[in-house]
Amino acid sequence: MYRLSRLRYVFPLGLLAAFFLDGSLSKLCADLFFKYPYAMSSQLVMLWLVFTYFFKEDIDVPLMGAAVIVGILADVYYAGILGLFMFLYPAVIMMTRSLGKLLDRTFLSMILIFFIDLTVFEALNYFAYSAIGIIHVDFGDFLVYNLAPTLALNLIYFVVLYWPIGRLFRWSLSGRR
């Protein structure tokens, strides 16, 4: 039960921490993240959501609602443009769910699913912003200068955080009745 496990504190706190760390890391490591002409976006929020889906075992975590809320926060606080992330984060959850049913739970299949999530997420972000005229970037440039570095950064997050976050989830699930 979600209400009885430690997850009911750990999940929302982790989500908020991930959300704020995205912004703080982008500021602190700006020289690394936005080294011309490359640009990476830190997506710890998505990482946390995907990890939660993989590690929650049989517990019903309100992932959808959390994704919508954190999406609205990202829209309002970081972008200042409403209506993108509040749909993209839930879309990521849906995609992870449907892919998660097809593949088994090994490290490699998880990282594959996260890779696909990230690619779709960044591509949809690119198309949406192009459509409303915020950016004018060639698709090729997007692939080389934006998508590739973003994938690299977030896959490094995945590999580095896989074990600690796995431990955290095991700890938060161990206390349940």
């Binding site: 908020l16 704020f20 500021k27 700006a30 970081y78 200042g80 443009i81 949406a128 934006n146």
Partner: protein, 285 residues
């Protein structure tokens, strides 16, 4: 039955898409038109900004500490160089004070209260940065209550870095000069050319691969040499005159070979901004 479900899904998808793009287009339009976002959005921003402090201040403190350690390494060298500069600076400062005083007296004689060079400043620290590859945006910890208004120019280090793009009660967003978006920065600039002629222009873009600002469509024939200082011209009435932007990196022709195009090396590294100064033109009120 199966058909019905897939149809319903399609309808839901279309509705979501419409809502999504409607919201985005609406908020972009609102953002360009209004001085402040709707109240509910402001409120959300203020609450989130407050919570962000819990993460941002320790993180910034950590960075500060690490910077201090690395700065300690080359303190000796720096100290020697700085000592030489200090003696010059004192002279400049005294002269600056005298000139400012004289300027004030002359303005009084002319019954001129505020000119384009008079501005007051609000200092703010940077909370975080938009984690997106598309928007070069900082979030600073001062807002309406401290007198920040939309479109005010923002300075950091030695020069101009961007302009305020959204103002909430206690925090605001700053769009950096390196943002290439549609509504991005259009600062009017001024360069002194050779033989008394000068060039006025508008910053039209930013080249991310070379890290240079571009001033397009300069029709003036004045000769501009490399390394010349670029300052804001104060035209447009929001930006004060004389804010340092950077130095001329090179001068080229535009795509059609008709007008000049000037490339500027920005004065500040846009990726190392911790404290910003928001400038407010005094004559606005």
């Amino acid at each position: 039955m199966h058909r019905f479900i897939s149809n319903r899904r399609l309808v839901i998808l279309v509705v979501i898409l419409v809502v999504c793009f409607g919201l985005m287009a609406g908020s972009v339009a609102l953002r360009n038109r209004r001085n402040t976002p709707p109240l509910i959005q402001q409120f959300g921003n203020d609450v989130v900004g407050f919570a962000d402090g819990v993460v941002a201040y320790p993180a910034n403190g950590l960075q500060h500490g690490m910077d201090s350690v690395s700065e300690l390494m080359n303190t000796y060298q720096e100290n020697r160089e700085l000592k030489q500069q200090v003696s010059q600076l004192a002279q400049t400062q005294v002269r600056d004070q005298t000139l400012a005083k004289e300027n004030r007296q002359l303005k009084q004689e002319l019954k001129l209260n505020h000119s384009l060079t008079d501005y007051s400043t609000v200092t703010a620290s940077v909370l975080s940065r938009t984690p997106s590859t598309w928007q070069q945006q900082l979030i600073i910890n001062k807002g309406q209550t401290s007198g920040v208004k939309k479109n005010m120019p923002v300075l950091s280090g030695s020069g101009l870095v961007g302009r305020v793009s959204e103002v909430n009660k206690t925090n605001s967003k700053v769009e950096l000069l390196s943002d290439t978006g549609e509504s991005a920065n259009r600062f009017a600039i001024h360069i002194d050319g050779a033989s008394g002629k000068s060039v006025n222009g508008v910053i039209t873009g930013y080249n991310s691969s070379t890290n240079l600002l571009e001033v397009g469509q300069v029709s003036s024939k004045a000769k501009i040499s490399k390394g010349e200082k670029v300052v804001t011209s104060g035209m447009g009435g929001i930006t004060p005159k004389g804010l340092y932007v950077g130095r001329v990196a090179r001068v080229g022709k535009d795509d059609y070979g008709l007008a000049q195009k000037i490339y500027i090396t920005p004065a500040t590294n846009f990726n190392e901004i911790n404290i910003v100064t928001v400038a407010e033109l005094d004559s606005e009120e």
